[in-house]
């Protein structure tokens, strides 16, 4: 099974992934990224903050970027009409 490395990139910088995780395919790796974004944003939401500006870069063992998953892709966001979400 190929090994993928999930780098979190957000306003605070980058969190490197030294260990990596096995996944069957690119789409399985993308699902890990989506699940992880939802889990991390959910935890931040409990503290009253939602920041969807980050992304996860999925890299191979040579650290070439294979896929990028933006935080915003992980959610279907609905806001009240007329509200601004700057």
């Amino acid at each position: 099974m190929p090994r993928f490395f999930f780098y979190v990139v957000n306003g605070h910088g980058e969190i490197a992934d030294d260990e990596g995780s096995d996944a069957e395919s690119h789409s399985a790796a993308r699902k890990i990224a989506l699940d992880s974004i939802r889990s991390m944003v959910a935890e931040d939401a409990r503290a009253g903050r939602i920041d969807l500006s980050g992304r996860i870069e999925i890299k191979d063992a040579s650290r070439n970027i294979l896929l990028t998953v933006c935080y915003a892709e992980a959610f279907d966001v609905r806001m009240p009409e007329g509200s601004a979400s700057d």
Binding site: F6, V8, I15, D17, D18, E19, S21, I32, A33, D35, S36, I37, S39, M40, E43, R46, A47, I56
Partner: protein, 239 residues
């Protein structure tokens, strides 16, 4: 062979020479388990219980979609399924993490032990009660603690348990599970687990990488995790 079990029990009570011999006579059969091997499956009829001698093992439950929750970690000196002596089958699976060594206690031999050694029986009962206390603390973590505090709490617990069986080197200890497995203990995805470990490292509390944990500031780590070892029943008393 059963020195870690004796260290664990003697931390909590006095064990006589006769009781020690009875334990030695009960735990005879030894087996080496390769890494990541499920040795007990839910529903299997049990005729013996398993004591961990070296390595690291876990109890887990999973869902059809592949999500897995590790419900307990076991360090040397722990019975993985002493509760199986009365339950006769388990509602969960038991798996090795790194290569591990176990010893078996046949249930008919344990029955004999309960008839001949009532105090030792109470100590074995204590150890299943202790497992339940740890489950309650993990529930509190999963339900209420933040990801970082959950991880910090787990490292405090494992450090404390390993110290009893003399498996720590100062504030460092081997803890051979990967980040995905650590995440399965904490109810976090592998990427979230990596973020949480980065938080703890940046706070100067703890480093965990490639199976080695180093605690930099135990008192601050305990405070951050709200770790209170009362639930580990660390005092010696007559039970």
């Amino acid at each position: 062979m059963i020195e870690t079990l004796l260290l664990k029990l003697r931390k909590r009570d006095v064990i006589s020479a006769e009781e020690e011999q009875a334990l030695r006579d009960t735990l005879v059969e030894v087996e080496d388990i390769p890494p990541r091997q499920t040795i007990l499956r839910r529903g299997e009829t049990l005729h013996r219980s398993v004591l961990l001698l070296s390595g690291l093992m876990c109890r887990y439950k999973d869902l059809r979609d592949g999500q897995r929750q590790i419900t307990a970690l076991h360090v040397p000196g722990d019975f993985l399924d002493l509760h199986g002596f009365t339950l006769k089958y388990l509602d969960h699976d038991v798996m090795s993490l790194p290569a591990s060594r176990v010893a078996y206690a046949r249930h008919d031999r344990l029955t004999q032990l309960t008839e001949e050694f009532p105090h030792l029986t109470r100590l074995l009962w204590f150890s299943t009660n202790l497992d339940a206390a740890m489950h309650r603390e993990w529930e509190l973590s999963l339900g209420c603690r933040s990801g970082a505090a959950r991880a910090a709490h787990l490292f405090c617990e494992i450090y404390t348990r390993l110290e009893i069986v003399r498996q720590v080197d100062g504030y460092a200890f081997t803890f051979q599970l990967n980040q995905a497995e650590l995440g399965e203990c904490l109810g976090l995805t592998v990427v979230h687990t990596n973020r949480v470990l980065r938080d703890l490292r940046e706070k100067g509390l703890l480093d965990f990488s490639r199976g080695l944990a180093v605690i930099h500031d135990l008192e601050r780590l305990k405070a951050f995790a709200e770790f209170d070892p009362t639930y580990l029943y660390l005092h010696q008393t007559q039970r």
